[in-house]
């Protein structure tokens, strides 16, 4: 008899909770939009600012310079934003030594992913010895677009990474955005390889310019697609907490 009056109350609670969740999500999406906009702006700035400041700078001509500036800019902005937002999983122990191991582990992961990308790119047909520095720079760029964001959002946790890239693995909208941006930058790089064999002899067909541009464009597209897609599907997206 006592349980009867509680039932509507209970469902009411659920309704509130759902509503809270939705509003939470809206706030989070807004945060994501601004974060992604800042990252995209950093890429645009990395292209414009050196063109103004440096004398003979062009994206095609001095491609490596652009590549380094872009990589550095995106990396710095990413790290800064995600530190400020505090997206990464809370550390169990907040000691200095723990932080140091985490950072060093992240660096190790990053280096490893650069080498892995380099290997994959070579296996896909990039020249092995000549223009190895260009290939490696491209690998670093790809790692910045994918691995670095994984590190920022998930921390150096391989299992969590594997989890994120499965259909039901996303646990927050940041995970979903990670899925989208990673996939879009990798697909962009893959598509960027298509013009390489053509005999048009354009300046952007030189290895690895079309691939880096493809990856960058894919990344930027992913940055814009992610919040839109999440907003569109916000009703369907339910995340289970850990």
């Amino acid at each position: 008899m006592e349980s009867l009056p509680q039932q509507p109350n209970y469902s009411y609670d659920i309704a509130i909770e759902v509503k809270e969740k939705v509003t939470m999500k809206d706030i989070e999406i807004k945060g994501m939009v601004s974060a992604h906009c800042i990252i995209a702006v950093s890429i645009v700035m990395a292209t414009i600012v050196p063109a103004v400041l440096l004398d003979d700078f062009s994206v095609y001509g001095t491609h490596l310079v652009w590549l380094y500036i872009c990589t550095g800019g995106v990396a710095a902005v990413n790290i800064a934003i995600y530190t400020v937002l505090g997206v990464s999983p809370p550390a169990k122990k907040n000691t200095l030594s723990h932080k140091v191991t985490k950072v060093s582990k992240s660096c190790l992961y990053f280096m490893f992913s650069c080498l892995l990308f380099h290997g994959i790119i070579v296996l896909y047909g990039a020249p092995l010895l000549e223009s190895a520095s260009e290939t490696f720079s491209f690998a670093v760029l790809l790692s910045t677009f994918t691995t670095l964001r994984c590190l920022c959002i998930l921390g150096p946790n391989g299992q969590a990474w594997i989890r994120v890239f499965s259909r039901n693995g996303a646990m927050s909208i940041w995970d979903t955005s990670l899925q989208i941006t990673t996939a879009s930058s990798v697909i962009g790089a893959w598509l960027g390889a298509f013009p390489l064999p053509l005999d048009w002899e354009r300046p952007w067909q030189v290895w690895p310019i079309s691939c880096t541009l493809g990856a960058t464009l894919g990344f930027v597209a992913g940055l814009f697609i992610a919040p839109i897609w999440i907003h569109w599907h916000r009703k369907q997206l339910t995340y289970k907490s850990k």
């Binding site: 047909g125 391989g158 259909r167 039901n168 064999p197």
Partner: protein, 1109 residues
Amino acid sequence: MKRVPVLALVLWICLLFYVGIWIFLSGFLLVKVEVNRSSSCKDELFSKHDSSHTEHFCWSEPRFKRAVILIIDALQFDFARFDPEIKDPRHFQNKLGVLSEVVASRPAHARLYPFRADPPTTTMQRIKGFTTGSLPTFVDVCSNFGTNAIQEDNLIHQLGQNGKRVVFMGDDTWENLFPNQFHRSLPFPSFIVKDLHTVDNGILQHLYSTVESSDWDVVIAHFLGVDHCGHRYGPDHQAMADKLTQMDQVIRSVIERLQNDTLLVVLGDHGMTDTGDHGGDSQKETDAALFLYSPSALFTAGQEKALQEVVPQIDLVPTLAQLLGIPIPYSNIGKVMVELFALGSPEDQSAQERRQAEALWINANQVNSYLDTYSLANKDLSPVILAHLKDTFLLAAAEYKALFGVPLAGGPEHSSRVQALIATFQQYLNQVRETCQASWARFHPLRMVAGIAVLAAACALCFITSDFADVVGASYRRLLWIPVVCGAVAGGGVALWQFVTRSEVDVLSSLGMAALVSQLSFFWNFCRRKATRVFAHNPSDLLNAAADAAQHRPALTWPSVPLVIFFLRCASLFSDSYVVAEGRVATFLLSSLAIYIPVQLNWAGRLLLLFEAQKSTPTCLPPQPSTPAASSSYKKESLTLLGCTGFLVASLYASHSFHGCRDEQGGCEPSAFLTPLSGLRDIQLRNFRYLLSVSSIIAWVCLVRRWMRHYGNMNSKSPAVLVARFGLPLVAMFVCLYWAMSSAPYEGFGNLQEVVKLALLVFPRAVYVLFGLGVAVVCWDPLMVFLKTRKEPATSLLPPTYRASTGVSLQAELQHLIPHIYQRMRKSLRAGEREGAGREDDGQPTVEAYGLGTVYSAPLLLVLALLGLVLAMLHPEGLMLSFMLLLLQACAILHMHSAATSLSTPGSRAGCFSVSWFAVLMWGLAATQFFYSTGHLPTFPSIQWNSAFVGLSEVHAGHLAPALLVTLNTFSSQILFAVSCPLLLLWPLVCESTKAGKRGRRAGEGEDREEAVMEMRLRENPDRFSTALLQLGARYLFIHGAQLLASVCAAAILRRHLMVWKIFAPKLIFEASGFAVTSVCVLLGLALVMRVDSAVSDWFKRLIPDHSR
């Protein structure tokens, strides 16, 4: 199991494709047989009986001693015309003023003609055209594909024969076409289309000094600037104006330097379209300019016409030959330009006409003898027309003899008869040209469209068959026999109608009709079948449908990404750059597909690599694995998948090191493995390479034998096992010996040369014989199963139900019995795998069959191993490494396929043998990739001709055997992958054994369901087995057929492309022959599997009476 309908259906699909290819090619490829005879001055004009005439084939007094021939590539007729009316000329107009100036000022010395080329209007074909006087076609069936040099009689050859010194400068195509035939040659590279000036400036450096000197009789200068300018900027561009002005200057300067005995010919080899391209048959492409000039009078004054008639390009050949006093090239079908022979004073008309008639007479004679020779060699010219032409010629010849045979002449009657004779000759020559043109030099758009339609419909049919194999498999009568009969009736009807109305049968149209009607009938029946299927409630169909529904489509079957990748693959055939880079494109797509599979599985949550720590999130786990044993087997499977993916991608990278190089690929070095060992100077390196090849051949043999031993196929004494045990190593040994002999330097052996020669014949022949024997033995008795009978009384094991049915017919008995035997078999099978007869199961098996689990794949693998060795022998020794890589890579793909299948469809796979698209696509891409990695390229010069005489003496080999060997060599990758195609179906079942064995051991021995049944599953579902085979064959054919269709469409759409005869058409030929070889081999592979199946049935039939007694 339905064997005949499955094979018949696949064969029918293949035939549809063949008909489509044939119809298309007959409209696209212009085929002509080359006649390798050359004319000489001593050829007699009259038959030998007429000894009264001693006229010769050449004129004793040539009109000109010397000639300067300026070829301006792509000089369209509009470029050469000068029209003062035009107020505001475009960039290409009114720039060559010199031509019309000279024509106006000296009408008896110069004339400008429109000069019509025959398609294909590409430079190389055109050079062939106006030097041989023939219509060069794409496939000039000649003695040797390997060289580009012109084999037919031609002007350059005749000039050289008659002691003329030919100086050539310009486009280096000439140097390839006429190697070592010039007195002096200054070739410049023609390939760099962007470069407007190198060739022209190179010519100009030498042209004037050469013309002024006296060390020449004929100067040929081929300018490329105008053509390159058109390709780069199009005709309406300032650069074209500059170029044409430069050419104007050149012609002026040359005219100034000419002497009286010299003829100047300025010609364009073809025109260009408004975009600057050429190659096709539009008027802008075919109409070039021809300008003739000489300081001495060329034409009779006062005969110039206002509008010049169009001169066909090949007419230049007899004209030049007669003007220079050399024999007309043997294969010429052009007609002399008579107005050039009407020389002398206008009053003496009879002398003029006599000259003209004589020129035409010589010309007609040569054409007639050419037609005689050609019609002997090839029958593609209609005999009716040929007979008519012959009659015309004989009449004209009689008239000529009557008029000029006797010395007296004169009178108006005589003159009119001569004029009539001239007209007859001209008419004759025109008719000959038209006949030949219709046969050799015209695309047939209707045939091309019809061919494409048949091919597209065949592709659709193939796709339907593969995707609805259960529907098709359930109703062969409606979907196979009725369409075939309809098609046969329609084709026969068309043929009969043609025979009745025109009394000759056009095979092509009746075949095309048959194909189209049978396809339509198939689609019609299929649609009706699908529509009625829902209502009919046919029990067997319903069963299939239910099974399909229960088996919710596995994660990888529906091709989203594989479809995209396949689409990209087909689209890549439409770009010349991609066709050039095809080897790399195939590798790129294949590794993309390989990497996509684990990513996709991970996305679907099926890749259980690191999940065991995360058991708390059950949503990520597939519902199936509950026991730790199953989970660990999943983990193992995932690791296998990842390992195989890594290995596959790495081996794809390694396979690049065997690629050859096309001409179009700049900065490419052909693989060092492609040079045969005998070509290596360094002895150390040679020995090392030989050892490498030998060790990989040993690894090849050992791997195959080890696999068979592992699955218990090496135990019995059946002949097939003997082949595996002794035949395979023996073949490998002979191959090694052959390589050793062929790579040894000849001089090293001294007296033993005869022995070496003999060995070079004996060893390959031994390999062929052993291979033939091995295959025959495997076909005769393909079972590699070792049977061990126990002493225990068999009857006691049979359940009472069997006893009750003893009175029933043998058929019913068998149906009851076979499952029971299986139960025994299943139990004993695992013991057989372990080869431990001592370790028994709990039950008391009566029969132990070793190697029954791989009863289908073992013979297939054996045949493949033998075939691979034979194919490797036909290649340079170094490529054995590539073959080894092929084997490993195929293994990796098979393992990936089976791991992915078992990961994506958890639970029992009993009864579902469908092979997913991605596996078939990977198989097809791997076939393409290894075509390149065995050092082949889709170009004719790159065919490995050395393989034609492996084991054959070059003297009396005939044509068939060398052609077969070259085909085997060229398409070895397609052959291996197509024959091994059924392995895709068998492998997941073979791989089942390891994991099921483990699972079973932990779950307890009692469960029959968990036992490894392996390929016996196929025996249990004979209908599904045949359906699965049909589906697999249809899918594999679809992959290749769609590529063929893409290639055909590319050739048809881009038939005016600059590179059509260099890239697309050869690619099409290779793709088509590759498809033919593939389809035949798919059929052979399927037939072999079915042969095994029938042998297995017989075996069971024999077995059961033994034990029921």
